[in-house]
Each structure stands twice: as structure tokens, then as C-alpha cells.
Amino acid sequence: MAVTAAAAALAAGPSPQRRAGLGPWFAVTPMLGWLALFVIVPTLMLLVISFCERDGLGRIVYSFTFENYTRAFDWKWLKILGISVWYAFLTTAICLVLGYPVAYFIGRSSERVRGLLIMLVMIPFWTSFLIRTYAWISILSQDGLLNALLMTLKITSAPIGFMYTPFAVILGLVYNFLPFMILPIYTSVEKLDGSLIEAAYDLGARPARVFSKVVLPLTQPGMAAGILLVFVPAIAMFAITNLMGGGANPTIGEVIQNQFTKARNQPFGAALGVLLLAIFILSLWLSSKFRRSEQE
């Protein structure tokens, strides 16, 4: 009991915020300036474009219209958005389950091994995304390695179509996002106080209890960060879903991309993008409000 209380106190400690003096204001100006110029201004531009029209060549015509938004609020686009969110959710969940034990193992390893292992997690992704994905295609395709292996081991008698299925899509997504789950969780695990865990074991707790009552709460910030860094980018991802899924199930990222290329309708793409941003910001704001009320 004492252990869990201590753990809880450490996990939910309030930040000792001071009012910003001159120095901190000066220090934060570069980031503010960056945000203002390269984030806010482009976002505002998108907002403006989303209310515009376009001509036959795809150039933007600056005349105010709501048509892009009325067009966006259609079931067909919302369905595609829903599928994208669902894929992102599945990917995040699987990454969490697969990645947490790895992060835990690396974080609790000796200092020498730790650095090596964490680099080894990332190194495969310093190859080009396309050759990695094509390597997966050659593993999973009908004439590929996996089928060859399964048939040689006599587990199956005919090749299975792994490629161009939702299974392939999730596999591709999980593969590409796994390090972005492992790394943040690792940073939380790394600062775990070993004596806390030892104490829990000495008090006779089973590993499962130690985990759920001590380790998981303490690594919660890392998990939250990992979930954020996987779920958020995964929604707008389309290159992987396109290559691994055969393009059969378009994602919202692909739809927006198409507006800027084949469909030559930049304002509509901008409107969809603004909506996506709005959904995000709303859910982030809601979740922070929820967290605040929880702490009180």
C-alpha cells in the first residue's frame, strides 16, 4: 500500500511553475517566432484557401464560398475519415502491446547495453521507406518468402494472399510506427527507481501486481507520449496503406493528397485538412480538460 501511494505521489506531482521573468521570455521567443511564422501562418493560409474556389487549371480563385465545407460534411468523406481513425487506433494499440515490453527490457538493462539497444531499434528505419516496404511485399506476396516457408514446412498447401489485405496494412503501419512507441516509453522506464520495484517484490507482490500498481503508473507519461506520437501521425498516413493495402481502401490522407494533385481542388483539400485539425484540437482540448478535472 505504501508503495503504491508513493508511486502515485511521484506520478502526479504538480509542476512548480513560476511566473515568466524577462529571461525566460527571451528564451522562449525563438520557439514562439518559429511557431508563428511556420505553423500559424501556413495554417491561416489553409483556412483562407478552404473558403476559396479554383479554376480549371487548379489555381486558386479568391472568392468566398462555403461549398468546400458543405461538400466535406458528407457521409462518404466521414466514412473514410472513420476508417483512417480506426486503422490508427489499431496500430497504436498493437504498438503499445508489442513495444512496451521492449522498452521496459531496454530501460532496465545495464547502462552499456541500453544505449546500444535503443540505437538498434532505430537503425532499420534509416533505410528508405520504399525499399523496406518492398522488402515486406516480397516477404508477404503470393510467390514470396512467407508462403514459401509455410508450404515447405507443410503448414499450408496453397499460397495465402497476405498482401493487399487489412492485415498487410496494419503490419506495415505497426512496423513503421513501433520505434515511435518504444522510444518515449523507454525514457520513462529509464528513470524508474529500481529500489521501488525491489521493495514491491520483497513485500510479496506477484509480478503482475508489481506491474499494474507500481511500474505502469510510473511509466504512464511515457506511454501517453508514445500513444500520441503514433496515433496522431497515423491518421494522416497514406503511403503505407496505399502500398500494403493495394489502394483499395482510401484513407483521409490519400483523399487530401488527391485534392492537391489529381483532383486539382486545393480548396477542398484545405477544407478537409482544416476539419482534421479542428477534430484534433477539439479532442486534445477535451482530454486536457478531463485530465485536469481528474487531478482535482
Binding site: 480549371g56 487549371l57 489555381r59 473514410i80 485534392q259 492537391f260 489529381k262 481542388n265
Partner: protein, 345 residues
């Protein structure tokens, strides 16, 4: 007095030249082309012969090229638009007229490519390579006969089909099958072919415009509608991949070189165009990309295998009968929405 005058003029000229050099006048030829569509060997040879350096930027679709060009991102000297993009750009006055006196090698082009509907008499553009969209199938698995689009989307092939991830293309096959001219992309015609397309798209396993041959080679699909270059690569890999020009109607695409209005190096660009029209250079391009070469003199240099590839040079096919795309303008958005919706069903 005259002596002083000439000296002054000479000094002024020298000064101007110096200033021009100081002002960093762009001496390099800025090429904005499809990714990997201009062989590096060709560029290197051009620089070797003329001393003109070439800088290359790539794009992967006409619209991407237009987006970057229109946004003003870089004064390009040469671009590689497809035929409908050339047509649209001529209409919007975005291209410079070519000085044909500087491009004598135009005579090497086959006559049907000298006067295409989207740019009569090559006023603004010069064809690079042409190609078709047709049917490829694995003859070991598909018994045939396969003659057209309707033979692709049969129930036996459901889940074993690969087609291009191109909404305009897909719609054109539907229109051709329904007997409607492929450039008549009106809302009514789209509505007419929607049930047909819905049935078709439900049977497709893979949509891929970049490398549809992958799905065929890997055995994940048995039949598909792909670019002729892809079909040619498949045929060269294994003759079991047969190529068929659809009987409902074939359309041809033509990629061209053109000079945007913003270019400052027109004469260098024209020199490059003239260079690639040389038979031996054009042959180098054909060696890398087994599409349809509009350069007759170059075709004479190709090997028998290249010429006998049914996807590159369809036997008995009358090129003048092929249809070309016209620019869709705002309808492009409707087409894209239709196909995206049908895919997501």
C-alpha cells in the same frame, strides 16, 4: 573620335559581361521532369558535348508539376507535361513558343506526332515518349481469349485484378465500354457508368499507378490494366505476360518537353530538345523506357526484341486511331470523387 567610341563601347560590353557574371546569371539548364524519366546518361552526354550544365528536379504527377510551377517555386527551363497538361497550359498561355529553326531534328519524328490535336505543328511542345493503356494477363493462369476491358472484370478474376490508380483512366474505360467518347466526361455520363464501375471496382485487388507490374510478378494478381511500359517490362521478364490492346478503344498518352514562360534559357532548352531528338540519343531513352518512341529515326536503331515487344509496339496497331485525353478542368474533381467513393465501398 571613332577610336574612343569603339573603346568605350568595348569597355561597356566588357563591363556588362562582368556585371552579368557577377549578377549570377543562371547558366545551368533547369530541367523539371518526371522522376527517372530522363536517363542520367543522356544528361551527362549533353553536358559533355555542349558544356551546358543541367540541374534536375523531379515530380511524380502533372498536377504536382503545375502546383509547383504556378506557386512560383523556381524558374524552370524545361518541363515534361503530358498531352492534356500541354493543352491546358497553352490555353492559359503558360508556355513559350518554340523556335523551330533551332530544332532541325524535328524531322526525325513520325508524321503523326508532328501535328497532334493538343498542339498542332509542335508550336509549343515536342513529344518525348508515347504509350498506351492496355490489358496484361498471365497466360499460364488465364486461359483467354482476352480482347478487352470486359474480359478483365469477370467473376473468375474477382480479387485477382490490378488496375491503375488513376480515376481519369478508370472512367475512360467505363466510357469506352459504354460506347461514349472518352473525353465526354459530363455528370450525366458519369452517372450512366457508375453502376458498371461499381461492379468493376469491387473486383479489383490492387490499385497501383507507380509499379503495377509488382502485383503481377509476385503472383498476387493474374490480370490487369496497366501502362504499356509496364506491360513491356513484364513481357521482357517472362513471355507468359501477354499484352492486349482493348477492343473497346485504346487511348494513347504522349509525354512532351516544353518551355515554361518563366524560363530565361530558351535557347539552351531548345538545344536540349534538339539533342534528344537525335536518333542515337532517343534510342538511349527507349532502352531505359520501353514505351512507344515517336522518333522514326531512333526506331530504326532499336533491337528486334525491343521492336517485337507487343506492349511497346503493338503489331498492326494504327496509332492515328488512338484517342488522346483532353484537359478535364474542373471535372477532374468529380471524377476523383466518384472513384474514391466507389473504392471505399
Amino acid at each position: 573620335m571613332t577610336k574612343h567610341k569603339t573603346k568605350l563601347i568595348a569597355a561597356a560590353c566588357a563591363g556588362a559581361m562582368l556585371l552579368a557574371g557577377c549578377g549570377k546569371k543562371d547558366e545551368t539548364l533547369k530541367l523539371f521532369s518526371w522522376s527517372e524519366y530522363v536517363p542520367q546518361a543522356v544528361i551527362d552526354k549533353f553536358t559533355e558535348e555542349t558544356g551546358i550544365k543541367v540541374s534536375v528536379e523531379n515530380y511524380s504527377s502533372n498536377e504536382e508539376m503545375l502546383a509547383k510551377l504556378l506557386a512560383g517555386g523556381g524558374a524552370y527551363d524545361l518541363i515534361q507535361p503530358s498531352e492534356y497538361a500541354v493543352q491546358a497550359m497553352i490555353k492559359e498561355d503558360l508556355l513559350q513558343e518554340l523556335d523551330q529553326a533551332k530544332i532541325p531534328n524535328l524531322k526525325n519524328l513520325a508524321p503523326e506526332f508532328r501535328n497532334m490535336p493538343f498542339d498542332p505543328n509542335n508550336k509549343f511542345s515536342v513529344p518525348w515518349l508515347a504509350g498506351f493503356v492496355g490489358v496484361v494477363y498471365n497466360a499460364e493462369v488465364v486461359p483467354g481469349p482476352v480482347v478487352g476491358y470486359k474480359d478483365v472484370f469477370t467473376d473468375e478474376h474477382a480479387g485477382r485484378i490490378v488496375i491503375l490508380d488513376d480515376a481519369r483512366e478508370t472512367v475512360s474505360w467505363g466510357l469506352a465500354t459504354a460506347g461514349i467518347p472518352i473525353n465526354n466526361v459530363t455528370d450525366e455520363n458519369l452517372a450512366t457508368i457508375t453502376p458498371l464501375l461499381k461492379d468493376w471496382l469491387g473486383k479489383v485487388k490492387v490499385f497501383d499507378s507507380d509499379s503495377p507490374k509488382t502485383a503481377m510478378s509476385n503472383g498476387d494478381t493474374d490480370i490487369g490494366i496497366v501502362w504499356s511500359g509496364e506491360g513491356a517490362l513484364l513481357f521482357a521478364e517472362n513471355p507468359k505476360f501477354q499484352w492486349v490492346m482493348p477492343v473497346e478503344g485504346v487511348h494513347m498518352f504522349v509525354d512532351n518537353l516544353a518551355i515554361p514562360k518563366t524560363s530565361q534559357n530558351k535557347d539552351k532548352a531548345e538545344a536540349f530538345i534538339n539533342f534528344i531528338l537525335r536518333p542515337e540519343i532517343s534510342k538511349m531513352i527507349s532502352d531505359e523506357f520501353p514505351y512507344y518512341n515517336p522518333n522514326l529515326a531512333a526506331r530504326a536503331l532499336l533491337s528486334p526484341e525491343q521492336l517485337n515487344n507487343p506492349a511497346s509496339y503493338p503489331p498492326g496497331f494504327d496509332v492515328t486511331s488512338a484517342q488522346l485525353f483532353t484537359d478535364l478542368g474542373e471535372q477532374a474533381s468529380k471524377v476523383d470523387e466518384l472513384i474514391t467513393t466507389l473504392k471505399a465501398q
